[in-house]
């Protein structure tokens, strides 16, 4: 954890967007890799790298399924990932609140 309390794993623009997007789904729901890529407008390679980092940390889970149309990968935020995002949001709010307070001081 960084000195300011912001989770360095989430505090990267791309990964922040990934986590925030998956958090919009109800707990337990997953999103296909293709749809996630389309929503975030990322290249497949870049998305895979970032997803792997988040998965290694336990923030998201992925599942591969085979269907008639081919292999499909879905990703979902784990409860650990949701908790991490919640704490990140709280830390961000505290940090920016502190920023505002300092700015108001003479």
């Amino acid at each position: 954890m960084a000195d300011d309390g912001l989770d360095p794993l989430i505090h990267v623009p791309t990964r922040l967007r990934i986590v925030a997007t998956l958090a919009a789904l109800p707990d337990g729901d997953a999103l296909s890799f293709t749809r996630l890529q389309e929503m975030l407008e990322l290249t497949p390679g870049n998305l895979i790298v970032q997803l792997r980092k988040l998965e290694d940390a336990g923030y998201l889970s992925s599942e591969k399924t085979r269907s008639e149309s081919g292999q499909k990968t879905t990703v979902a935020l784990t409860s650990q990932g949701r908790k991490a995002l919640s704490e990140y949001t709280k830390a961000l709010r505290n940090l920016l609140g502190g920023l505002q307070t300092e700015a108001q001081q003479p």
Binding site: A20, E38, L99
Partner: protein, 214 residues
């Protein structure tokens, strides 16, 4: 204290917390909007369709003493509006939940069952008319209230099972509107449904819009 607020992110790039907060808000709103199967604009349009549809029926029967039935010309209009409604909901909801796996995924079969329930309810009307039940019930109270109560409760139960509490609540409220309309008599029931559904669906649209912003 001279605190440093720029935080070094991946690859040594600075990612300012204020930028992070803005990005988080923007991404959250966009995701909620793109994944919402019933966007506020669609719900609002359906609210006006309900107001106009039920309202037109009320206008056609309010002067009838004794009560006969709604104007026959409204039937094909109602069916047409119903078909457009189903198609619009299916297209929008399916597009929004493309790639989603889980309970929030839109399943056309669920909507088909709801439509079938509506038709089933109306099929009973013929049997009631043949049995000599009064016009006020066959062509008034029953078609106004029964579809809302039966389909509303059924959809509410399904959504509650899927833990989609917002849709379950809205559907249950529609059933309540149907039940309340029974108190207004064969003419007034159409007006109660018109206004009740209009208010309910506009409120639902407002809740969805607020949720997307929040």
């Amino acid at each position: 204290m001279n605190a440093t607020y720029n935080t070094t992110g991946n690859n040594g790039n600075d990612f300012d917390p204020q930028q992070a907060a803005a990005l988080l808000n923007q991404t959250t709103q966009q995701a909620k909007s793109q994944l919402e199967p019933f966007p506020p604009w669609l719900v609002a349009i359906r609210a006006f369709l309900a107001l106009i549809g039920y309202g037109a029926i009320w206008l056609s029967v309010r002067g009838q003493h004794p009560y006969l039935h709604p104007t026959a010309a409204l039937i094909p209009v109602g069916i047409g509006v119903g078909i457009v409604n189903v198609i619009a909901v299916t297209v929008v909801a399916q597009r929004a939940t493309t790639g989603v796996v889980g309970r929030s995924r839109f399943r056309p079969v669920e909507l088909a069952v709801a439509v079938a329930v509506w038709f089933g309810v109306f099929a009973v009307m013929a049997a009631m008319a043949a049995a000599g039940v009064s016009n006020g019930i066959v062509y008034g109270l029953y078609p106004a209230a029964a579809p809302l109560i039966v389909a509303g409760l059924g959809w509410a139960a399904l959504k509650a099972y899927q833990r989609n509490w917002r849709q379950a609540g809205t559907s249950a409220a529609a059933a309540v509107v149907g039940a309340l309309s029974l108190l207004a008599g064969p003419r007034g029931c159409w007006l109660v449904c018109a206004i009740g559904l209009f208010v309910l669906m506009l409120a639902s649209a407002a809740v969805i819009a607020r949720r997307q912003r929040g």
